[in-house]
Assembly symmetry: C5
Homo-oligomer: 100 residues x 5
């Protein structure tokens, strides 16, 4: 799993049937310095995450298997909302939330 | 899943039998600054996507499983056409479409 | 598998049911020069690892399959605590532990 | 799948039994500027590809499943020989073949 | 699969039961210029590889499936010892062996 910040939403009227009704969120991977701008990942929300929240993203076949339909067009799912993280004793969640 | 822009088409007369009749599109991953030139990914179109469109790409075994033939030579599939995305309240789809 | 150093803990009260009771550790990938700051990976601890330790991280479907529940929301698991590593005859574990 | 150029051959007399008789080709990933020197990937040829050709590479469990033996030691397979690609209307195959 | 050079050994007394008795080798990915220092990968040896050798590394679920125990904590396995590689007609194995 990796840590990311929800930065947006995808609106895609034309999509695979198994994605109809899913909330498709754009999640930016985080590193120790804050945001990592390498790529824009999209994950299906399964825990009620919202914009600006730090989340835990599950990938690959494990993400597909937690969906109710085993043949879902899903390879990434948000499976946790991070309240805070402790990095060698220091909480950085506030740092990230404020920085971007 | 990741967001990308369709930038081209692959013509490959010699290919695995399960790919005959498939539309093989070249998709460039996007990041927050626009295009990411790291790599050229190829995905099978399943939603009628065309050149210049921003799309949602599914990868790995999940992409294979949404094909009609479970043993398809597929590890990436376009599963959505992005109408627009909202990044912290600002739609960026127009930005990307015009930039490249 | 890859080598990393445990640098923190994730606190996420809202999460997938299969993760309840799991210890979610943040692991930083290591390279030959020490820490690699590219990304923050999260792995479920299965061997009693703690902060500052160098660990062996298993990824993908293999990580899910070693969990007791085959449908766990897991794609990365700590499967070993590294006592030391020998790089062309020189142990570097002490180097990493002291450096960061 | 990704696009690459065949740049060499691997000779490995000691190898997993399922690889005996396979042609192991070294494929260099391509990007929009030509060659990407990040890594050297090895893929099993399934379509009669040769040195210098631009090919389509399939990865992961999908690559294993197209082999005749379901337990093959394969995670990457060449599944197409690219005649040319069209990038926003311009064919770049000649460019790559001549450049390197 | 990817090409790498064995640069060390991992000693981890506390580990998943399925790894007991396995030789855990540290393999550095190679690129066209020699060593790639991005990351330190660990693979289970299945062919009797040793320090300094150039090897072929298999990843993902394919690596797990070639182990005798289908639920092994393995996502990377050394499946070949490279005698030499031919890059556009020039053997580079000696180059790598001498360089590092």
């Amino acid at each position: 799993m990796w840590l990311g910040k929800v930065v947006g939403t995808v609106v895609a009227p034309t999509k695979n049937d198994t994605l109809i009704g899913s909330k498709l969120l754009i999640v930016q991977p985080l590193n120790l310095d804050g945001m990592n701008t390498i790529s824009l990942q999209v994950a299906v929300d399964t825990v009620g995450a919202g914009n600006g929240e730090t989340v835990l993203v599950l990938t690959g076949s494990s993400a597909r298997r937690i969906m109710q339909n085993e043949d879902s067009a899903v390879d990434a799912a948000i499976v946790g909302i991070v309240e805070h993280i402790e990095l060698e004793g220091i909480s950085k969640s506030q740092y990230w939330v404020n920085k971007v």
